[in-house]
């Protein structure tokens, strides 16, 4: 029973759990940010979604065993991404009716200066890497959302099929199907440009 545990032992356990949670969040936060950025294209939106996912995990699930945190965290993150995309599409539909409405940030032309290499020692290699990543991001965005989620969670985050199924809220069979289709589509799109 919880009441029988001496107070110092309880405090020690809470401290350990806090340290473990910090370690977990520090480990996943950057990858989670990049995955959100690939899906949303906007770094500020990606930051908001990751921050929200961290808060929700900490508030609601920090008492759960740490082994469950990863799929839970990515489930919260994917839900946040989907919510934001849904809100954007509603806003986009609404903005069409307004005169002089601004273009959606998704369709805004990129500043050409952003793509200019900085002329460092590894500039050609960095440029090639950056172009390859850009192509990968474009291809990932072209995938259906579930396929993209399955690919990123399995391949980028390294979740196994069971964890990915938990994170996506679907069966393991569906994860395998989504993943296989994602890889097939990406191979078709990238095989030529990645030669």
């Amino acid at each position: 029973m919880v009441w029988d545990t001496p107070a110092p032992a309880r405090e020690g356990a809470v401290l350990d759990q806090t340290r473990e949670l910090e370690k977990f969040l520090a480990e996943v936060e950057r990858r989670a940010f990049r995955m959100a950025q690939i899906a949303l294209r906007d770094p500020d939106d990606a930051l908001d979604v990751v921050q929200d996912a961290m808060l929700k995990l900490a508030r609601n699930y920090s008492a759960k065993p740490s082994a469950e945190w990863r799929p839970l965290f990515y489930r919260i993150l994917e839900n946040g991404i989907r919510d934001l995309q849904r809100r954007r599409s509603v806003r986009k539909r609404f903005m069409v009716w307004l005169p002089g409405a601004k273009e959606d940030p998704d369709n805004e032309a990129q500043d050409p200066i952003d793509n200019v290499a900085d002329g460092g020692p590894d500039a050609p290699e960095l440029l090639m890497q950056s172009q390859a990543m850009e192509q990968l991001e474009t291809s990932l965005r072209a995938l259906p959302a579930r396929q993209r989620e399955a690919f990123m969670l399995r391949n980028f985050e390294g979740l196994d099929v069971a964890e990915t199924a938990k994170a996506m809220g679907c069966s393991e069979g569906s994860v395998k199907t989504h993943y296989s289709r994602a890889v097939h589509s990406l191979r078709e799109q990238l095989s030529e440009v990645w030669q």
């Binding site: 950057r30 990049r34 990751v50 890497q129 990968l136 990406l186 191979r187 990238l190």
Partner: protein
């Protein structure tokens, strides 16, 4: 190595590189977000009786009640209505001022009519010394 695993490996490497290239502004904001999340976790672990979120509304209601009581007793409304038994003299004075014999209702007229009487009474009470 098959073409499929080559694609997976290359995409994973590119992704990891892009994670390593995240700028300092974003890193700093992620660190802040992590600390905020840890703070939220520590709050959620406190026993519910010790959480500020429980006590803040209760403290607000108590403060409002105390203030209300203080204002009530400090205002004239807080004193109970004056009755005749509280101060009978005050009501008699009020009666004299409000009523008059001639029915005019003006007490000042009545006082002016009796000026001669009060003058005589004053002199009678304090006779002038003989010259």
């Amino acid at each position: 190595m098959s073409e499929q695993s080559g694609l997976e490996e290359r995409s994973r490497t590119l992704f990891q590189d892009s994670v390593g290239n995240i700028d300092m502004r974003v890193r700093s904001r992620l660190t802040q977000a992590r600390h905020a999340a840890l703070e939220a976790a520590s709050v959620s672990r406190r026993p519910w009786l010790l959480r500020a979120s429980i006590w803040t509304p209760a403290a607000g209601v108590t403060a409002a009640a105390v203030l209300g009581v203080a204002l009530w007793f400090g205002s004239p409304l807080g004193h109970h209505a004056m009755t005749a038994s509280d101060n009978p003299t005050a009501f008699e004075d009020l009666d004299i001022v409000a009523s008059s014999d001639d029915g005019s209702g003006d007490a000042m007229d009545m006082l002016q009519d009796d000026v001669d009487f009060y003058d005589w009474a004053n002199k009678a009470g304090n006779p002038e010394p003989a010259a």
